[in-house]
Symmetry: C2
Subunit: 235 residues, 2 copies
Amino acid sequence: MSADTKTIAFVVFPGLTPLDLVGPLQVLGMLEYLRPEEYRVAVVAERIEAYETDAVLKIVPSHTFADVPAPDVVVVPGGATPAFRAMTDETLLGYLREASAHAEITASVCSGSLLLGAAGLMKGRRATTHWTAFELLPEFGIIPVRQRWVEDGPMLTAAGVSAGIDMGLHLVSRLAGDEIARMAQFGTEYDPEPPLGPLDWSSAPREFFAPAAVSWVTDGLAERPELRDRLVAWL
Amino acid sequence: MSADTKTIAFVVFPGLTPLDLVGPLQVLGMLEYLRPEEYRVAVVAERIEAYETDAVLKIVPSHTFADVPAPDVVVVPGGATPAFRAMTDETLLGYLREASAHAEITASVCSGSLLLGAAGLMKGRRATTHWTAFELLPEFGIIPVRQRWVEDGPMLTAAGVSAGIDMGLHLVSRLAGDEIARMAQFGTEYDPEPPLGPLDWSSAPREFFAPAAVSWVTDGLAERPELRDRLVAWL
């Protein structure tokens, strides 16, 4: 690692969706493997301890926020209820503001874009999020764009959960070029073949997920009733 | 959770590739979310402690091998050097044998199929693995099949890393039907859009990865020179 090594920081908060984090982490980890002098990856949180996720495993970050105050790239995963709860975590929001102010690229996966919105970083930006939370984007001054990933200046947001892999590969292309991105794609053998084919959005189970989205907001923001009510009004 | 609840156990060993684990875990976690009375997911390891991965984060399992001796489904992730080192871990191999003997389905991602092979569970089975390790399959009596995932009786193996997501969705279909698998696909918003398109296998960087595969075997099996030499001979 040289003095010019760029740091890519993945942000951890309690209860996050681990695939939001691990998808792009594995892809950007290939960038670090292929170009170790130029890039290093860190997983950052308030403390180095085991954090719950919305799966049964816990994850332990590699660094604290204080260790990595000025990353070159910051990537924010999302979650369900815990992502809305995280909107009340001033330490986390403060880190997102500080890191993003320095970073060349601020990226998110899933409801991570809403977290960046809650930190005040998305006003007037084009962005996306998980499809079930898409209607919430305007509350944070975001111009909603329905794409797998959306780029607007330094802000790079991905759709839900698995979209972080596509976004991560795009990010590798942007940082290091298509040839390295292709190597990262071969390394992770990302040659998708969904058994039931691509999603048919005309048959999306909106009725099933709509009440879930309301409960994520309501439960996550119980202590912030004003924001809770403004968000629920969009759903 | 009722007495009839089926347990899906994801196996952790030191140094695994986290996307191998977290891809199918997130998908099968949707099955647990949608059918909580029928399925529960566990992440199992020898001990409940923080395990290194080949990314910078560590993961903490939810249960020990002793807690979940007889899962209904067992899923084994892979890795690079650490997956070969794991072939010398008799506690792990013993758990794989015991769990697989009881399980309705034994699944793997990436080099996880080689680990199942090292446990003696794959003789005469059709299976796949990460493309860089594909030539090693016959050493374990496996009939190599180049597909995204391969089913042979109770054995269900996936290709490299991200293939675990596709295999996981197929596994949900097999357990609970296509309708639930489609819900899991919507929940994880798995509608892949690789920025550079599908992999072009005619231009696979074989020259780059071939020495890496040799080093994974050589480093991982330093203490088992006979198996090391037999495997290297295939590469």
